[in-house]
Symmetry: C2
Subunit: 152 residues, 2 copies
């Protein structure tokens, strides 16, 4: 087994209206409709070629202001603890965040997007096109659906 | 701007029937229905608590056998080059892969899943529950849809 460490470095940074975590909508039914910008470093701009054709992007980013991790924790959406891999908690063994955004337009090395839930200045690790979703009837949502049902 | 490097380390490894890249279905309409196992290291098993309730998981993993990156490249699905951030190419600035799998069952620290497109022994960085998909009518797929249309 390859137990070595892997390294990554920012390909760019998020410009977001959220200056601290208290401003990020969290928990059950949180709406993430804030507009922001994915500002990609000039050296990686060529990698954005043809990205305009996609309506939605998957953004991977670093929770650079989270510290440490918690294998079992209580998310804002529930009053019971859950395993970190069954939640979107920032306090993860590898603190990589994932956000699906809608691409509004591209201006050179800047992607104007809707749906940012990252803090301002968050380092971006990768961007991938979103190719499909899972049909709702095939999706189960575990404890979150249960927590919603309990709240009526 | 925080241009520092970030480090990550495996939380587990994939057991996959794909022993080398030639065995992984690639390109337009590739079906990923192979069964495999996400074997999580014992020290992180507590983080799997309640994961059984989710039908689909997002798996982040390291392309540990890719080398270097290419900002513009020709994917198997098209005969034209595209920016790396508009493709799923393994040759990315930060070689992090993303796969959505269906969770079949959990046995202790082992998640039996369907839909693996990773190579055997691929290091796993993170697992997150899949909470929703994007409705098909809201999704555009850029050059991929165009390439499909050209092929009729």
């Amino acid at each position: 087994m390859n137990l070595s460490m892997f390294t990554s470095q920012p390909i760019g940074f998020v410009r977001s209206p959220h200056k601290d975590t208290s401003q990020v909508p969290r928990g059950l039914g949180a709406k993430h409709d804030a507009d922001g910008v994915l500002a990609i470093l000039a050296e990686f701009e060529l990698g954005l070629t043809d990205i305009e054709g996609f309506s939605h992007l998957v953004v991977l980013w670093e929770f650079d202001r989270a510290s440490g991790f918690e294998l079992l924790g209580k998310p804002p959406s529930d009053d019971r603890p859950h395993g970190v891999f069954a939640t979107r908690s920032p306090r993860r063994p590898n603190p990589i965040g994932l956000t699906i955004v809608e691409l509004l337009r591209r201006e050179g090395n800047e992607l104007h997007v809707r749906g940012v839930d990252m803090l301002d200045r968050t380092p971006i690790l990768d961007i991938k096109p979103l190719l499909s979703g899972v049909p709702a009837e095939k999706l189960r949502r575990g404890w979150l659906a249960e927590a919603e049902a309990r709240r009526g």
